[in-house]
Amino acid sequence: MNVIAVFALILIVTMNVAIRIMKNKNSSRNAIFKLNSTSTKWLLIGYVAILGVFTIVAACISPKDPSYEKVAAEKIEQFVDFYPTLSQGNEEEVPAHLVEGKWSKKLVSNTFKIVNDNSYSLPLTLFVERVENTDGIMEASLYKGLDIINDYEVRDYMEDIELEWTDDKLTIKEKKNPPISLSFFHYDYLFKQLKEERANTLKHMSSHGPALYIKVPKSVALDIDENTVYVIVES
Amino acid sequence: MKFYEESDLPIYIQVAEWLENEILRGQFEPDDKIYSQYQLADLFTINPATAGKGLTILFDHDILYKKRGLGMFVTPHARSVILSKRKNEKLTLLVNGIVDEAERLEVPFDELIDMLKSAKMKTQGRDKND
């Protein structure tokens, strides 16, 4: 839709500029700077030549293998947004290929601490379920997320996650990864018109963050520091 | 060549008279080709049509004759025609003028004759010592 807006804007701006110029009779065709016709001709030829050079340069330095490729279509199909299922507690419905890792630990003391060592927000969503089981075993599983911007997979969430298990503590450490900055160049809509993707596939993001699902026996006292946000699951 | 602007005569007549004088002066012998209207126009900075009119006057008085496509040529008897024309046109006009003027000034006729004679003497004097 932005093309028509741009078009209407152009129409409005040029309309009154043109009408204002047309008012005074002969100034409407005076040159802007005092260049005669041959030097203007050469100015124009020079300009087009420079553009040509830039075209060649652009062709050469455009990255042959960009570090981001289009995400494969199947990957998107196979991906299931596991948030709803996890929040209802039925872990088993999440497809296996999305599981990054599973842990199970015999708790020694009857308290368990979860510490967020990350200066930013949590790099994952924490699901906590208090279970009845009596043998004091705590199970946890980590689910992979998917971060797509304009059909490109921009990162692998796992790189930002580091979990440190000790007997009675889980620390979510901070990985000092540099921030990502991306820029997208797209041709004007008119250019894309003939391609099938009629709809403007640009400027949309679908990001499904990773999730850590922990089943903690009720018998254990859970101590999560106050600034960690987590979801309590009632199965 | 500049025309005497204020003269009463229209330009084409002045051209005709100038041509007549040229013929009298012997610039043009009989059967010589005379200036074309374009040459005359160039000479006097006048419109060729006007010059053409001057030539046609001379043609009408049989001073010039036309050869198809070649232009105008002086007729053999051109000189005599001009002389007689001048005599009975221009001279008579001048003479009438003199007579009218004499009457107005009440100059007796014979006194007028004497004046003519002395004028003749003077011009002869001038001719002799030229």
Binding site: S183, L202, P210 | -
Partner: protein, 245 residues
């Protein structure tokens, strides 16, 4: 004095050559507008940053629509100015009739549209080079195959010609009768603006009808139909226009 026979095409060709040679103001304004467009487009079209998990991502969008917009603006203004009396009197100082002037002007604005298309397409590369240098990660969303590029250029060219033809027609109407011209153009603006927000309006349908069409041939046919219609109106309006009144 023999009269020279003269052919219409010959005169039109000379007139177009004359326009290319003497309208230096038009070409200078092309450079200014496009360079200005380049600067504006380097600012990017918008940016987003992604909330949530782990390290932050900031996304910058760059597009060529500003460049194309500037070129369209340049074409619109100059096509309108071509109908002013100053240009008209220039034409009639030399050899011209109303018909030859209209043909010459249309040929000229088509050549301007061609120049505009080529330069705006090429100047996108300036933007690309700048972006490559500026930040390492530049993703070209729709890399076009050679055939697609050509057909897109043809599409762009026909749109620009449509803009020129519309501007020329409005200009001719304004020359013929100022108030009708202004009225018409204001109406066009309002409709243009409305069509952006409310889907149902007729102009919106018209724009959709013309613009949104996937098959190249059909699109070109529709555009040339529209151009022909505008050409006809310009002729109707300017065929007995006086000069040096």
């Amino acid at each position: 004095m023999s009269l020279n026979e003269v052919s219409l095409i010959d005169v039109v060709r000379k007139q177009v050559h004359f326009k290319w040679k003497s309208y230096t103001g038009i070409f200078q304004s092309l450079l200014i507008l496009q360079i200005l467009g380049l600067f504006i487009s380097t600012l990017g079209e918008g940016s987003m940053s992604e909330p949530g998990y782990g390290r932050s991502i900031s996304v910058q969008y760059y597009s060529s629509s500003i460049l194309v917009g500037m070129t369209a603006m340049w074409l619109f203004i100059n096509s309108m100015l071509l109908t002013t009396s100053a240009y008209r009197e220039d034409d009639f100082t030399f050899v011209s009739t109303r018909w030859s002037r209209l043909l010459a002007n249309f040929t000229f604005i088509i050549s301007l549209a061609l120049l505009g298309t080529v330069t705006s397409f090429l100047s996108m590369n300036v933007l690309k080079v700048y972006l490559f240098i500026k930040n390492d990660e530049l993703i070209l969303t729709n890399s076009l195959t050679f055939f697609e590029t050509i057909s897109s250029l043809v599409v762009l060219l026909s749109y620009l010609i449509l803009i020129c033809a519309a501007a020329y027609t409005i200009g001719s109407i304004i020359q013929r009768n100022k108030w009708v011209g202004f009225g018409l153009s204001m109406l066009l603006i309002v409709l243009g603006a409305i069509s952006v927000d409310y889907e149902g309006t007729p102009i919106n349908f018209l724009i959709y009808f013309i613009m949104f069409d996937s098959s190249l041939m059909l699109l070109l046919f529709k555009l040339s139909l529209a151009n022909g219609f505008l050409f006809f109106i310009s002729w109707m309006v300017s065929d007995n226009q006086e000069v040096r009144v």
